[in-house]
Amino acid sequence: MTSPDVEQLLKLAMAEVHVPPGSAVVLEGSIAEGFGTPHSDVDFLVLVDGEDQPSMPTVLFLDGRRVEVRMRSVRQVAAQFDAALTAPDAEVLDRCQRLLGAVPMRGESLLRSARSAVSTEAFGDRVSAWCGERSRQALRYAQAMAQLAQADDAADWAAVGLLYAVKSWAARHGETYLEPKWLPAQLDRIEARAGGPQDLVRRYRAGVTGAACVDLAEEFGVTGCRVEPGGVRLRRVPDVTTWPIGDRVHVLRDGVDVFAFDDGAGEVWRSIVFDRAPADGVDLDVLAQFVRLGLVGLSDAAGDPVRPDLRPVTPPPGRTCPALSARGGAVVGPVTLVPLPAHRFCAAGLDLVWSNVLAENAREDLLGALAVGGAGAGEFAGRRMAQVACRGLFSAAGVHPLPPDDALTRSLGELPFIDGSLVELARRAERPPVSLTDLDYLVAEVRAHTGAAGFPSSFESAADWQRTLELGHDWLRLAAYLGAVLPISDAADLLAPRGTA
């Protein structure tokens, strides 16, 4: 793209965007850096000697080119340079680099003044250090994943680590443009400036993989990236907590995501002791999955964290329906993301347990009413027993809050795991004449669907009430942790300060 072309595009852009008098205008980005192609966007930055400007650029389509006009105040630019030197991240470094590598179009003196906040050398050092750290952590992660027998991850991250080692080296040689995609062109320029091929560059271009990436990265100047064999340790990740429900291990991430583990994954999870190596014989594939999910971190033997530029993965939510039972989230495979936010998962689980308690309570009432021959009371208790039992089906589906009791049996058909015979049974059991046989059968069917088979007769004895509390206990612990509203006053009393429940 020629200068007249750019000038022409700038004139067209200025007609569309209000530029305060006295502002500087620069061409920045890949074209300014000399990497542009006929398809590259044309990026202008307007440097305003006045009020702070909004972040969003104006996007224009002019003469068949996509043109972005970004506005920044001098103060905003100064803040960016300050951040680049004190707490750099990729975006800040990229913004600063674009300005430092920009081609002045208008108001050069203002641009010069803004750029004077940081020297080219200091900025190059900063970019080099930042890329070096990214390289170091990627290479450490690659070695750690290799120790967890994750060959593909190890290979991918070794390549990333080496790439950033080269970027770090390139930044020390004046090439601070951050985008990795222009690295080949940057290396060409370095060699051109040096007057000939560079041995390191040649070896990088020749291609290395695996452990050789670490060796070559060190030659590019990135040190401290080795993790000694067998040196990987497991590290605590903040806001990751363990919540057994019955025999099933659940892990809560950031107070929002609930992962349910099958027995094998549960064993692997239980084997984790922070600041120690993975347990002997542990399933490393599952352990590596925990790492990817951000449930456990890695460090080296000295305790220094391995921190790749990697956000925790979130898998597709589990698709099993019902999503939960009295014994926790449904699992499909080793690790299942419960398809409910933690609060609703917990509330539904508590409702499910409580529906079983209420069913027992209603049955007690029904037996009492039948014993004294109170038909009306019997019908009421029977209806209630059927309805509260059906609550459990909705709770198992993750429904919370529950529909009104009177609407439950007629809404049962909406639940995909319920067949017509159960709907019919529930409708029949709800209506007079009272049939204890139907009601008991309904309760048993519901419990079979919701993992609550063998629920104790909560009100028959102190021992049964204790068993009832113990069944609900794991849900209650999680609920208390999440600050959920407890549906059971006795449970609130169990967990809350006495006298306040």
Binding site: T241, V251, R270, R276, A462, Q466, E470, R477, R498
Partner: protein
């Protein structure tokens, strides 16, 4: 200054010896069975006490259950002529021992230490416990010992530590007793259900904080003569907080705290029942009560504030236990 420390092989006693010796005092460490004195950092160099007070720590074997601590008359005379301060830290602190043991060591041992202090006109710094409500034989004995101290007419100060645990900085502790035994049973799943309430409170105090306070009381005895100074963390942790904290550790099992009024030991498995009867039962009041302590007298005297308390301190203790393999 010459300082005699009973129970010098114990958790608090050893830390006190280390501090006093570091401050340049001549410390006579009185131990019973142990031939060494070790604080949380390791063994403290000692020399045998032959009757002369020397810089550093010298050691002497005693038996507090016997008059004159079982010492020969000549050694008693030497100690009494030394213008010493006496720190009485010797005690049986484990729960579940026979009352006769508590009586012999904690009560009569205190009487014998007081007699020595009286004879040598020694200022008396008595290490008691914040838990003197009498919930078990240990607490009753410590309460009785305090009464002896107060009734002795001697110049005395009583230091009342709550539950003594690892240091503030690292959680390090030399021996895992009492609280740690229960902790291990809980997080290793040896006991699945315990009688307790989630709002029960445990006050944990770092052993270094207790020792600092004792050493300060020795240095500035005149300012606290006749006082009782609680040595507490000041930010008790509830069992709810413990339960939530345990959830941070994948390997930890978490017990169910069942309200004592509905808890039934007969529903436990035989193995759990054994642990319950041997250990958990001894701690029932601690798992049930919302005990907290007021320490304004301590804060007015001793200006070092706890660097870390409550859940943060407990997390550090757990990390230490894991790091050295006490917990898994």
């Amino acid at each position: 200054m010459n300082v005699v420390v009973t129970g010098a092989a114990g958790l608090v006693g050893a830390e006190v010896c280390a501090r006093l010796a570091a401050s340049g005092h001549s410390v006579v460490a009185l131990t019973h069975r142990s031939a060494t004195v070790a604080d949380h950092r390791g063994v403290i160099p000692t020399t045998p006490f032959g009757g002369r007070f020397a810089a550093g720590v010298s050691r002497l074997t005693v038996d507090v259950t016997r008059p004159d601590l079982g010492l020969a008359a000549e050694l008693v005379d030497r100690l009494c002529r030394g213008r010493c301060t006496l720190v009485h830290a010797a005690a049986v602190t484990e729960f579940g021992r026979d009352d006769s043991v508590y009586d012999a060591v904690n009560v009569r041992g205190t009487a014998h230490a007081l007699a020595l202090a009286r004879r040598g006109e020694m200022p008396f710094v008595h290490v008691s416990t914040a838990y003197v409500a009498g919930a078990n034989g240990y607490e009753r004995s410590k309460s009785a010992a305090e009464r002896l101290v107060r009734g002795s007419g001697l110049d005395a100060v009583v230091i009342r530590p709550s539950i003594v645990v690892g240091t503030e900085a690292t959680g390090a502790i030399r021996a895992f007793r009492s609280f740690y035994v229960l902790l291990r049973l809980i997080v290793e799943g040896k006991v699945g259900a315990l009688p307790g309430r989630y709002d029960a409170l445990l006050d944990l105090v770092a052993v270094d904080r207790v020792a600092d306070l004792v050493a300060d009381a020795v240095h500035r005895f005149g300012e606290v003569r006749g006082r009782t100074l609680p040595a507490i963390g000041g930010r008790p942790v509830s069992l709810r907080e413990c339960s939530d904290l345990f959830a941070e550790y994948p390997s930890f099992r978490v017990p169910k705290f069942v309200p004592p009024e509905v808890f039934r030991a007969d529903t436990l498995s035989p193995a759990q029942r054994r642990y319950h009867d041997r250990v958990v039962r001894l701690y029932e009041p601690y798992l049930r009560d919302r005990t907290s302590f007021e320490d304004s007298a301590t804060r007015a005297f001793h200006h070092r504030r706890p660097g870390i308390t409550g859940v943060a301190h407990l997390r550090r203790l757990l990390d230490y236990c894991l790091a050295i393999g006490y917990l898994r």
